[in-house]
Amino acid sequence: MNLSVKLGSLTLQNPVMVASGTFGYGVEYAQLLDLNQFGAVVVKGIRLGPVRGNPTPRTAEVASGMLNAIGLQGPGVDGFIKKYWPFLSTLKVPTIINIWGTTVEEYAEVARRFDALGGVGALELNVSCPNIKEGGAQFGTDAKLLAGVVRACRKATKLPLITKLSPNVTSIAPYAQAAEAEGSDALAITNSYPAMAIDTETRRPKLANVTGGLTGPCIKPIAIKLVWEAAKAVKIPIIGMGGIQSAADAVEFLMAGATAVAVGTANFYEPQTVPQVIAGLREFMARHNIADVRELVGSVKVAK
């Protein structure tokens, strides 16, 4: 049975990875999980310098999901390399680094720094965080700006590039195509959905940031549709995510057109989700007589 897939020049032993920002820097969960079983480990978004992030409350639970407005708190490139790279560089599976900036030049500089570090599996360009004022989503909702970010990073590094798209667009195809045209090796779909919740007793928003990103099982059907639409528009592989908590959810993303999948919010309530999804995927393939996981990709049957 083959579970291995490729994202550009990067080979994954299986298509199941984690979603940025839901798995810290890997080391935190190492006591509970064997990370070397994963397809890849994806770390929290990093920009050039350290970031404090948003005030609290930063989260609110909602039906079948949650809101978050972390504001991309992080140690910056140097802090990350000093504090977390010694552990991550010992892993046998690739580490994918999620990067962001407030200018095109910053994205490119961060890409150069990680290129120079050596041993990084791939870079994921976060052009879709809804929780910061500058950078992030502003690049993800303007196809020209998006193209500029991908182009600059493509020049800055030979590492495989994954462009993480925003769901907050009328049609995803032009964004997917812009990233592909500028040399992105893969797409990640989707980031969280801009959303809001109000405490009716106090009449205050539940998040200090007022709005936040909606994630978890409640966004899965919307994410499936985005992956399906993007897969029809581009040839590069897609990493599908949004509410995955079981192997069946992962298979659904593969059938919609994703080559790999990422588990996000589910890590918080069930840290064993990734190994469970990998085991369940094997079981699904055995039950359906599928020898190669790539046979599932885009296999949804839609009547013409």
């Binding site: 920002g21 839901t22 810290g24 039906a63 079948s64 949650m66 978050n68 099982p217 918080f268 069930e270």
Partner: protein
């Protein structure tokens, strides 16, 4: 840190809205330290997915207990569960209290509402006995009083409505006690944020050290999501630190009650 599916041994109402939940969790019970917590998943909850954090109240032999108040979806579902039913636990988590040493500073514990759970475990594990101040709105909010006495601790009860013990808030008898003498004493507190803030101020005024168990909303409980942070003083300014990992127990002098401009 371990993740285990555990069975409920008992889950009984204590007073009013408070329940004592005993689970069979030998490895977690063995590792538990005062001030640490477990992140509990109630699988029976259908559309509320996240785990809920609860202080460890007792860890005896194979059993681990928490003392909880029913306040919302998760605790309501939990309150209807019974012996033999399963829950998922991750724990023990977080950085707990510094257990007082025999012959060291006299501990003064300040507990509000479910904060009594964490305070009880600290009292039980502390070779140095002291005074525990327990406060609540009404008589039914006073938990563990007899248990603290059985440990040989001096217990001072306050209720806001005066239905039991001294009428007022828990910090009043604490201030009175510190006026009698503050040297060689150390405060430990767990309870509502307003109470913790008042305790921090009292500690500053009387120049006594204080350890506070902070309460923030948590998603992961293990340090990855960065939802549970509070602003904390550092050598070169301040930073957000995680209540689930660097905390929940912080030195009161480090806690900033407002985000600096």
């Amino acid at each position: 840190m371990l993740e285990r599916t555990v069975q409920i041994v008992s889950n009984e109402r204590d007073t009013d809205q408070y329940f004592r939940l005993v689970m069979r969790a030998p490895e977690l019970a063995m590792a538990a330290q005062p001030g640490q917590f477990v992140h509990l998943r109630v699988m029976a909850m259908k559309d509320a997915l996240l785990r809920r954090p609860f202080s460890i109240y007792q860890a005896r032999g194979e059993n681990l207990s928490v003392l909880y108040k029913t306040v919302g979806k998760g605790t309501d579902v939990l309150a209807r569960m019974g012996p033999g039913e399963e829950l998922s636990l991750i724990g023990p988590l977080g950085h707990g209290f510094t257990v007082p040493k025999a012959g060291g500073e006299t501990p003064l514990l300040v507990a509000g509402g479910y904060g009594m759970a964490a305070m009880y475990m600290l009292a039980e594990r502390s070779p140095q006995k002291g005074v525990v101040f327990v406060g609540g709105r009404r008589r039914v909010d006073i938990l563990c009083e007899d248990e603290f006495r059985k440990l040989g601790w001096d217990v001072r009860v306050t209720t806001e409505d005066g239905s039991y013990g001294e009428k007022g808030i828990v910090t009043q008898p604490l201030i009175a006690e510190l006026r009698r003498g503050a040297a060689g004493r150390k405060l430990f507190a767990c309870g509502p944020t307003a109470m913790l803030k008042a305790v921090a101020k009292i500690a500053e005024e009387f120049k006594v050290p204080a350890e506070l168990s902070m309460d923030e909303h948590m998603c992961c409980g293990v340090g990855v999501c960065l939802t549970c942070v509070i602003p904390v003083k550092t050598a070169d300014g301040w930073e957000y630190q995680r209540t689930c990992t660097e905390g929940p127990v912080f030195d009161s002098r480090e806690v900033l009650w407002e985000v600096p401009k």
